[in-house]
Amino acid sequence: MIEELVKKAGEIRKQTFEMVMKAGKGHLGGSFSCTEILVALYYGKILRFDSSNPRWEERDRFILSKAHGSNTLYVILADLGFYLASELSSFLDDGSLLSGHTDNRIPGVEIVGGSLGHGLGVASGIALGAKLSGKDYLTFALIGDGESQEGSIWEAAMFASHHGLNNLIAVTDRNNLGSEDYTENTARLEPLADKWRAFGWDVTSIDGHSFDEIFGAFKDVRTRQSSRPLMVIARTIKGKGISFLENTPQSHHTLPTGQYIDRAREDLK
């Protein structure tokens, strides 16, 4: 299965790249750093969902808190049949279903996203609601590391551990970069894992591009005995897959031009 997922991640990146290049705008860097995580969640039988019934009551809730990672998510949701693949060709066009950041009109998307620091709190509310209603679905939240400079993330962190939300699983896409600079140059996050532990979470750190390690982190999410929420810190590379964008601040929303477009396609082959 791993081989298939590696191949799938490659295809998703290619489609994402072409979708973004057609639109002339997008967030390749932050979308490519979380591609393997999203592919593992959606194709690796981690998330429980029904693409023919996106509002299925028993589905797991996936909250893309770093909603600029939507570019990859849109391609995945189309590929899984949440909506027609033809929607991708209208990405960012007038009247398109698919905006730069997510909104819950889009089948498969749970919340209006885009403003950083909100998703973990909303996910905590959903996880609490599930417990209050006796539901066994899980709530997943993918947050950015730049986003983790928002104070509201840490309000949510305290809340989730205080209320024992062990049905909440968060992933930090630790690509080390915000929009303009490295997080450690702007408002230092390290020691990030220690911070989450100190806030009362179970924490595991993985290579966010290794399917083996991703599955290792998620293998027992439905059966784990801990009373704490789980944070998976995924070490990733912003712009992963396009050599000249990797680990660069400009990968956040700068798109290749001229000869670099062909170089990017070559890299993504």
């Binding site: 909100h118 509310g125 959903i126």
Partner: protein
């Protein structure tokens, strides 16, 4: 409904009665208290959470709970459950049209001695800029309790701005329907004072003063600020020679602005005088009545402003 003499009791005793019957109700407090919260904790503990001093997270959690089918009430001091977490209210609650009611305690200069951080004098302006938000500004104890029931029954986001009073009771304790959005409290042939919240009580005293000076003033209680009931409002003031708007709130975007907007949009031309808080912060410390007087919102100041205007 029982007769209340305290807005906090009216709010939360009624909310407790609703929550007892409806397990889908969840109340979040941003570390702000009410006597009956002990009963919530004792009898329906899953339906009440003090989330601590974290208003931003309170709104996001409220949105998450609402997404799972809960009807959520978030309680805190008005300044902190509006301005502090405005973006959470906008993005997490309003953009998804979720059934969350924000209960803001202590509007205007209620917390006069606590300084400008606790004065909330722009909540109407900012909250009405949120599409889909219903804003109630109750003017007596009965209305506060009734609006909690209306908030539970109605969809979408709501904000109830709760004054501590003391209010002069205006409405019959049996009245539960405040769907009109405004009410004529008193008719007057010379001018109409359009007031909201505690300023309706103030207006009752002002009309007595004006009467001494031979001015017959009416009062309209404008208690639902959004969506405004334009038709009822225009009917209520149609025979007025002049309109005075009265609010313990900045005149930038508050009740006075709402009234002027309605009349401008309808092509109604009645002279209007807006009385409210000028464009300033109050660092002065003192009783609410004293701080109000600095802005001309005491009975003497209001009366003088009106008399000066009509002369």
């Amino acid at each position: 409904m029982k007769v209340y003499t305290d807005t906090r009791d009216a709010t939360f005793e009624e909310l407790y009665s609703i929550a007892l019957q409806n397990p889908d109700v969840v109340v979040l407090s941003a570390d702000t208290g009410a006597r009956i919260f002990k009963e919530f904790q004792r009898n329906i503990p899953k339906q009440f959470l003090n989330v601590g001093v974290s208003e931003q997270n309170a709104m996001s959690v409220a949105a998450g709970l609402a997404l799972t089918g809960k009807k959520v009430f978030v309680f805190g001091i008005s300044n902190f459950v509006t301005l502090r977490c405005y973006e959470q209210i906008k993005n997490d609650i309003c953009c998804m049209d979720l059934p969350v009611t924000v209960l803001g305690m202590g509007t205007g200069y209620v917390y006069s001695i606590d300084g400008p951080t606790h004065h909330i004098t722009q909540d109407i302006s900012i909250m009405r800029a949120l599409p889909g938000m219903t804003i109630w500004s109750p003017s007596d104890y009965t209305m506060v309790g009734a609006l909690v029931h209306m908030a539970y029954k109605s969809p979408g986001p709501k904000y109830i701005r709760i004054d501590k009073g003391p209010f002069t009771p205006i409405y019959d304790p049996g009245k539960l329907d405040f769907s009109d959005g405004l009410a004529t409290v008193k008719s007057g042939k010379d001018l109409t004072i359009v007031a909201t919240a505690i300023m309706v009580t103030q207006a009752l005293k002002v009309v007595e003063e004006l009467a001494i000076h031979g001015v017959d003033a009416g009062i309209v209680d404008f208690y639902r600020l959004k969506p405004a009931n334009n038709r009822f409002f225009l009917e209520a003031v149609s025979h007025s020679k002049r309109i005075v708007t009265l609010e313990e709130h900045t005149i930038a975007g508050g009740l006075g602005s709402i009234v002027c907007e309605i009349m401008a949009d309808q092509g109604t031309t009645i002279p209007v005088k807006r009385i409210g808080i000028p464009d300033n912060y109050r660092l002065e410390v003192g009783s609410r009545a004293w701080v109000q007087s600095l802005d001309g919102l005491d009975v003497y100041g209001i009366t003088k402003t009106i008399l000066d205007w009509i002369e």
